[in-house]
Symmetry: C2
Subunit: 316 residues, 2 copies
Amino acid sequence: MKHVILKSLAVAGLAAGLSSAAFAQPKTVTIAVSIPAATHGWTGGVVYHAEETAKQLEKLHPGLKVIVKTSPDGAAQANALEDLMAQKVDALVVLPFNSDELTNPAREVKKRGTFITVVDRGLKDASIQDIYVAGNNPEFGRVAGKYFVDNLKQGNVVVFRGIPTVIDEERVTNFEKALEGSGVKVIDKQYANWNRDDAFRVMQDYLAKHPKIDAVWASDDDMALGIMEAIRQSKREDIKFVLGGAGMKDMIKKVMDGDKMIPADVSYPPAMIATAMNVTAAHFYGSAPMRGTYVLNAQLITKDNAKDHYFPNSPF
Amino acid sequence: MKHVILKSLAVAGLAAGLSSAAFAQPKTVTIAVSIPAATHGWTGGVVYHAEETAKQLEKLHPGLKVIVKTSPDGAAQANALEDLMAQKVDALVVLPFNSDELTNPAREVKKRGTFITVVDRGLKDASIQDIYVAGNNPEFGRVAGKYFVDNLKQGNVVVFRGIPTVIDEERVTNFEKALEGSGVKVIDKQYANWNRDDAFRVMQDYLAKHPKIDAVWASDDDMALGIMEAIRQSKREDIKFVLGGAGMKDMIKKVMDGDKMIPADVSYPPAMIATAMNVTAAHFYGSAPMRGTYVLNAQLITKDNAKDHYFPNSPF
């Protein structure tokens, strides 16, 4: 019976004009991708890029199945990982909500022999991961600082910090180091939690306190939106530009269009999930060693290269 | 005329039973790979993996052309990069002989708008590279040290250093750090230039000086071969094992076969050229950000995972 089926498949293949090579069994691999749901802008981008890349990779590798699973919070994501163990998955690509809740569930998945790729936020035990893909936070600050030195040359800058974290500290420390010896001075810096409304309020405070502000390091595109609104309402004209960060679609569009207030951005791409999925698939398809740590560049996005960072169909 | 040709192509396509999707123009990309010729074991592995991966990637991405060019020395490699500029290449993957001779030629290639991936040995100006792929030298030492702590537990170890370089320093420092607080003692360490004959002589010296040696950190598979020969000639039976490094085929085979003197190895894979070619191709095929630094793990290779590191057709 088996023989008969194979034979008729062969006939169908010949009829369709396919070579016998098409009958080589494609390697079957299942990759699960566990990510936060689109609860805010950046994670919305993560979801978009994960789904697009799943399609691209499945097309590229016949036999590959990619399951993208979004979770609304850390506890739900921990449960999602437990559910995955019931299925047979060869690899897990996980962007954890947080290290505390996801470290143990990820360790359990690993114990089943699953290949683990961690993205952006590390787990508490690095030995769990086979691959780690992350953005470059020190460089994010350095690139931004260099932009002020090269383009403002001298003047007063106000700085927005995110949430007190290692990430924020690395960014701000390297921003200030990049300004050393230049005519660019930081006259104020406050936390605004990577939040648009908080940044709006902090910017109102800066505008009230400082009669002359030459430029703003928003350090984040969500915060940049709140800052822009505060500047608009104040009708102040001393501020030459605002530099955000992350690569939000609306901001990249402004850069592309030559908006004078948003002349540039610094990348911290939600598409890093796509990078992680690519290198994970490459582990299974091909013979290259892929286990390691992949730190993506923080790139200065200007009018010249903005189109490489613009994804009009992404929500972010 | 153009119309007629397209029409007859369409007819040929239908005759072959292909769907119209097959007519979507595949994206044309040319990647040049510039590597040292197979002047010694490790670079022989680099050449093998570059050529194998070129075939794999060309099969995966219709429209991709990969040109692998080997050079016998740094000056020849610099000339090879100049020749490449006459051709239209979209990307260059380069494992430089050395930083001094290759930095300027690589910069010139970059100026033409070519995407640059640097492998293993960095250039003097990191801003030239879009991607950097390298081994993890501190981890290479740490993993080896941990192996001695876990398996020898206590005893006298002699250490072989390579050539006085940053790489060697990072390896040895982290090896010794991993031994701290354990019963494993380094009783001697000498340079043997990652060379088999030098290691043979240094091991003869160690054997003459030290009446009791429990294990040897060769730190390199070429050196391990010389060391094994010196031990064999001495007929000494106090040495329990020799730990090399790199992933040489003959050594991996011994690990697979359960050779008591070579129970493990630490990876520093020549196949990192394949990793570099994979991530470079992914930059062109797909939308994931790939610019960054990819540091591959130094992995402990034991009987359990040796088959993943064994390439019987490779010269290394």
